[in-house]
């Protein structure tokens, strides 16, 4: 008989308990078992970024992680009402028209929230000129490099970049 495992985790501040086949990805647990359908399934292979969520504040591809690996973790999805930066990004994406079809948008926004936090913590990128610099300036080029794990097939990239720049500046 196939193994069944209990998992307790928290999604957008609310505790959740699940009984899962260990094959269930975090993405499928969120969408199919908990009805957080704001999290999108694009490629299901970690190539497109549509499934990006925050786990304990870090952005990850939820399609490439098993739900059972996240016992006790705090997951944040686009549905959160508690994140100032995600709210600011949502407003900025609307005002800059940072999408066409909108399918990649929840992943873009969760990824941008993680990216802005990484920049605040001084994490460098491949194009950072001096790796020893502990202050990151989120230029257009830096944002494009740091967001390269999120694909937009409508190619709304210029507006996505501008939306992120606005939100990053707006939230201290």
């Amino acid at each position: 008989m196939d193994q069944i495992i209990k998992v307790a985790l928290s999604v957008n501040g609310r505790p959740q308990e699940l009984t899962l086949d260990p094959r269930t990805t975090l993405l499928d647990a969120l969408r199919e078992h908990l009805d957080f359908t704001g999290v999108k399934k694009g490629c299901d292979h970690g190539q497109c970024g549509a499934c990006t969520v925050l786990v304990n504040g870090q952005r990850i591809n939820s399609c490439l992680s098993l739900a059972v690996m996240h016992e006790g973790d705090e997951i944040t999805t686009i549905e959160t009402e508690e994140s100032a930066i995600i709210a600011a990004l949502q407003d900025a994406f609307v005002s800059h028209d940072g999408f066409q079809c909108g399918y990649c948008t929840p992943g873009q926004i969760c990824s941008a929230a993680g990216m802005i936090s990484e920049a605040k913590r001084g994490m460098p990128s491949y194009i950072t000129a001096t790796l020893g610099d502990e202050t990151v300036r989120l230029t257009e080029a830096e944002i494009r490099e740091r967001m390269s794990g999120n694909i937009c097939r409508c190619a709304a990239y210029p507006n996505i970049v501008h939306a992120i720049m606005q939100a990053a500046g707006a939230v201290p």
Partner: protein
């Protein structure tokens, strides 16, 4: 994905013991490569041992001025560590050039060393592949082999090792520490960790099934400026066609390691300490053979070497 038994280990002894129970077992850390392959049934372990709660996630100074990196240190954390950024710039830059930020937040030091090739035919279960299905043949030879190896190949396999991190670690003469279920440990020079394909391309490393990587140790950095230059088909989030990790001292003498060229991080020690790009390229590219679509890698490597010397 095929069904498997899931076990969560609390320490490395529990993990290695679980892996020694006779089932076909994989340790899962970040899982970013393993789960991808399991979805395609390229990998179909009977048991997964989750090592995300076993610790081994510290970066420590060693008494001789080097660094000991726990196997569970995430790629993003290692790349952002100030000691790595200032003393091992080639490693930090190599890590940052690899994958995407989301993947680097999950991928681990030990897992990165054990990631599988991105050869399209290895991923495509409808095609022959000696690495996935020994004895079935190699579809890359005579197939579309733009990303494939020009050095260290065999008539059975021309796949490359895709890691950027491992190339920098090869340059820096890293040592890989492991432990097995019986408690025995060993320190493996990174040059000896990966095997060339020969007639067993399915065997990529010298590790036993119950052998867990616990740490990677870097000796003190040699003097000189460190560079990681990666050449690829798009500017970000792509594997290397050719990559060069280099340390160049004040008098212009270089040591280099290469990615994208071979089934393992490639370094030719005999080419160390030279200053002339053509002389280095002649030695590094000795025996290099293209397979059609990847012939360009031979002149590209020579030009990359010269560009790095000018950086």
């Amino acid at each position: 994905m095929r069904a498997f038994t899931y076990t969560r280990a609390r320490d490395s002894a529990q993990a290695t013991n679980a892996a020694a129970n006779g089932k076909a077992t994989k340790f899962i850390a970040g899982g970013t490569n393993l789960l991808d392959l399991m979805k395609l049934q390229v990998e179909a372990p009977e048991q997964l041992v989750d090592i995300n709660r076993i610790g081994l996630d510290k970066i420590e100074d060693t008494p001789d001025g080097g660094l000991k990196i726990g196997a569970m240190v995430r790629n993003a954390v290692l790349a952002a560590d100030l000691r790595v950024r200032t003393r091992y710039e080639a490693l930090s830059r190599a890590l940052l050039s690899g994958a995407s930020a989301q993947l680097r937040n999950r991928a681990t030091t030990g897992g990165n060393l054990l990631q599988r090739t991105r050869c399209y035919y290895f991923y495509d279960t409808t095609k022959p592949c000696n690495k996935r299905n020994p004895g079935s043949g190699c579809a890359a030879l005579g197939g579309f082999n733009r990303i494939h190896a020009i050095l260290g190949t065999s008539e059975h396999c021309i796949a490359t090792n895709p890691s950027d991190m491992a190339v920098a670690m090869r340059l820096l003469d890293a040592t890989v520490a492991t432990v097995k279920a019986d408690g025995s440990t060993r320190d493996i020079p990174i040059a000896a960790l990966h095997k060339l394909p020969g007639d067993t391309p399915d065997q990529e490393t010298i590790l036993a099934q119950d052998e867990l990587i616990t740490a990677v140790t870097l000796p003190p950095p040699p003097p000189g400026r460190q560079i990681y230059r990666k050449i690829r088909d798009r500017a970000s989030y792509a594997f290397a066609l050719v990559s060069v990790a280099a340390i160049i001292d004040q008098s212009g003498r270089a040591r280099m390691a290469f990615g994208g060229l071979a089934p393992k991080p490639w370094r030719v020690e005999a080419a160390d300490q030279q200053t002339d790009g053509d002389a280095i390229a002649d030695q590094v590219l000795q025996g290099a053979t293209g397979h059609g679509a990847n012939d360009f890698k031979i002149p590209l490597t020579r030009r990359a070497i010269k560009a790095v010397l000018r950086d």
